[in-house]
């Protein structure tokens, strides 16, 4: 365990590829820290604008009344649950193939936020299903595959937590994450492939199936949740970097120089 204690503060990087610099945890860490206040600020402003449009400006739906307003949180959360899974599998795969530590840490940082948005998509879906379909839950292709997504996230987290050696945990998690990625197109296309109770896609190549104000509010809320999710993932990634690199000199120096 002694070699890792004395990592050099900066390692040589190949000249023409400056962006690769940020693949090193010690270069990435302060950069992520500088981005955080902007991301959280953007999330707050966008959420305020989106909630204003969705709850105060958009008129009630002709069939669903005001129950339809759940769309402004349900659809953005459901989109994020899938996007985060693909990002998690991507970074886990990069970490597996190129043996880059930060990529694997990124996958681990994405999982809890992905699981949270999957839970929120299911929760808001249940609260929308009850008044519109008369049921909190049905074993429909869309709902079942989204529930499977939650179990994939939880399985990834449980597997990583069960393995003590971080690099072995990274590799085992990556295999699970990559195997589960086939579920994402199943969720997305489930409303076309099967006859489901769940309504079709809100957005498609043919355009949007809704009034412009509803679409605007939904897209602004989507941006708000994206900004929040990126911020939360970067916060968690920084925590994981600190914990895993705790034996290194740069972490000690960084904390000494940035006392809060």
């Amino acid at each position: 365990m002694s070699a890792s204690h004395t990592l050099p503060a900066a390692r040589p990087f190949s000249g023409g590829k400056r962006w690769l610099r940020y693949a090193a945890p010690q270069a990435f860490f302060p950069l992520a820290g500088r981005l955080l206040p902007w991301l959280l600020g953007a999330a707050l402003l966008l959420a305020a604008a989106g909630l204003y449009l969705g709850l105060l400006v958009a008129p009630p739906d002709r069939q669903q009344g005001d129950a339809y307003r759940i769309i402004f949180i349900h659809v953005p959360a459901a989109w994020l649950s899938m996007v985060i899974y693909v990002a998690m599998a991507f970074w886990a795969g990069i970490g597996l193939v190129f043996n880059t530590r930060l990529s694997s840490m990124m996958a681990s940082a994405l999982a809890p936020t992905g699981a949270l948005f999957t839970f929120l998509a299911l929760w808001t879906g249940a609260l929308w299903g009850k008044p519109t379909w008369g049921a909190w839950w049905v074993w429909d292709a869309r709902l079942t595959s989204e529930l499977l997504l939650l179990f994939l996230y939880l399985g990834f987290m449980a597997l990583q937590a069960a393995i003590d050696d971080p690099r072995r945990a990274d590799r085992a998690g990556a295999v699970l994450a990559l195997a589960g990625v086939v579920n994402v197109p199943v969720i997305y296309f489930s409303v076309q492939w099967w006859n489901t109770l769940h309504q079709g896609s809100s957005l498609s190549a043919r355009g949007a199936s809704m009034a412009p104000i509803v679409l605007q509010a939904m897209l602004v809320m989507t941006l708000a949740l994206w900004a929040y999710a990126i911020a939360a993932v970067l916060q968690r990634l920084r925590n994981i970097v600190l914990e895993r690199e705790r034996h290194t000199e740069w972490v000690r120096q960084y904390l000494a120089e940035n006392k809060r």
Partner: protein
């Protein structure tokens, strides 16, 4: 602005518990996540201090 009054807004056309149950739980969930991230940060900083003490003890 489509609402006539504050109570009108809160009633959400009779769907208050579904609409506020959705938005409220999202707000609480994100708040809890932020709290857990702050606690995780504290733990990580403690781990860094502990590692540094251990190393000093070994020298």
């Amino acid at each position: 602005m489509i609402w006539d009054s504050w109570s009108d807004f809160l009633a959400m056309g009779g769907y208050a518990r579904y609409v506020w149950g959705s938005f409220g739980v999202v707000l609480v969930a994100l708040g809890v996540e932020q709290l857990m991230l702050a606690l995780q940060r504290e733990d990580a900083e403690t781990a860094v201090r502990l590692a540094s003490l251990q190393q000093r003890g070994r020298q």
